[in-house]
């Protein structure tokens, strides 16, 4: 090994180390954003805790929500979290095809979740139980739709990342963006645990 080669090796190592450090800071910054998002959601939960019993003579959760439907919706999101996790494991093993397939399955499950949520909203509004009917329905629609909007933007991001993996492979930027999207996706699943427990199930018992 001559000196030029040794120098190049050193530089490569320095760049890799800088990338790792940079990625950690990026991930931490994104984590701070997630924490601020968590504050938004908890304030919406608090709003629901205050307004959620004001039915204004209209129907309550027991009449409006259906357990089996909600269960399937919940499992869609939980499964998509796991398939995303498997994609991240495949990414670390540099299996491009497995990552793309995993991300597509994740996207389809997420689409199933959003589709079910929108269908539920449509049914409620068509039956005359829109967000304008009572304090309960206002706070319900605000919280659940805020979560749904997050998932929708997550799906958009997911499509962009699938295209980037296909076109750029696992470049440094693509990998660091996938790590952040995975945090975002798992975070939304945690918020959903709060939604189905405190908004749907608690109202129905």
């Amino acid at each position: 090994m001559n000196t030029t080669e040794a120098k190049n090796m050193d530089e490569a190592q320095v760049i890799a180390a800088e990338h790792a450090h940079h990625a950690e800071i990026n991930t931490f910054g994104f984590w701070i954003y997630l924490m601020s998002d968590l504050v938004i959601f908890s304030v919406l939960f608090a709003t629901f805790a205050v307004l959620g019993k004001n039915y204004a003579g209209g129907p309550g959760p027991t009449e409006l929500f259906h357990l089996p439907y909600l269960f399937i919706e919940t499992m869609f999101l939980l499964l998509s979290s796991v398939t995303f996790g498997f994609s991240m494991v495949a990414m670390n093993e540099h299996k491009k095809k497995a990552v793309i397939i995993g991300l597509i399955i994740t996207g389809l499950l997420g689409l199933g979740f959003i589709g079910m949520e929108l269908y539920e909203f449509r049914e409620l509004i068509m039956a005359g139980h829109g967000p304008d009917k009572s304090g309960f329905l206002s706070s319900f629609f605000t919280l659940v739709a805020t979560h749904g909007t997050h998932v929708t933007f997550g799906l958009l991001w997911l499509v962009v990342m699938i295209i980037q993996v296909i076109r750029q492979g696992f470049s440094y930027g693509v990998r660091s963006r996938l790590v952040r999207l995975s945090l975002f996706w798992h975070f939304l699943d945690i918020v959903w645990v709060g939604v189905f427990t405190f908004i749907y199930l608690m109202g129905m018992v």
Partner: protein, 111 residues
């Protein structure tokens, strides 16, 4: 060359394995089924008991997600994420707990 390459994999998001995701998925599914089961058989127990059990199941499931999916743990790599999370939890406790406390006592006084 291999060493820095491997350090680069985590990118500050913790170490991940397929096994951990599977364990997390099984635990989360069990807790989800328990929650829905409690709601389905709500006549078998007093409402207060069901509400407490639902809250515990949700809290446990959130911890399962945090540990197995978001990889929050005691490692030094995760320290700042955990500190930020703990501070956010304190804020949420003040916001949500304070709101519920103020509004419920107000409600009682207006009766």
């Amino acid at each position: 060359m291999d060493q820095p390459h491997h350090e680069n994999e985590n990118m500050g998001a913790g170490h991940i394995t397929k096994r951990n995701y599977l364990i997390g998925f099984i635990l989360a599914t069990v807790l989800t089924v328990v929650s829905f089961g409690l709601a389905a058989f709500k006549e078998s127990m007093p409402r207060n008991v069901i509400v407490i059990m639902l809250s515990v199941a949700a809290l446990l499931q959130m911890l399962v997600h945090l540990y197995y999916f978001l990889h929050l743990n005691k490692s030094s790599e995760q320290r700042w994420n955990v500190i930020a999370f703990a501070f956010t939890a304190l804020l949420i406790f003040i916001f949500v707990g304070g709101t519920i406390w103020v509004m419920y006592t107000l409600n009682l006084r207006m009766m």
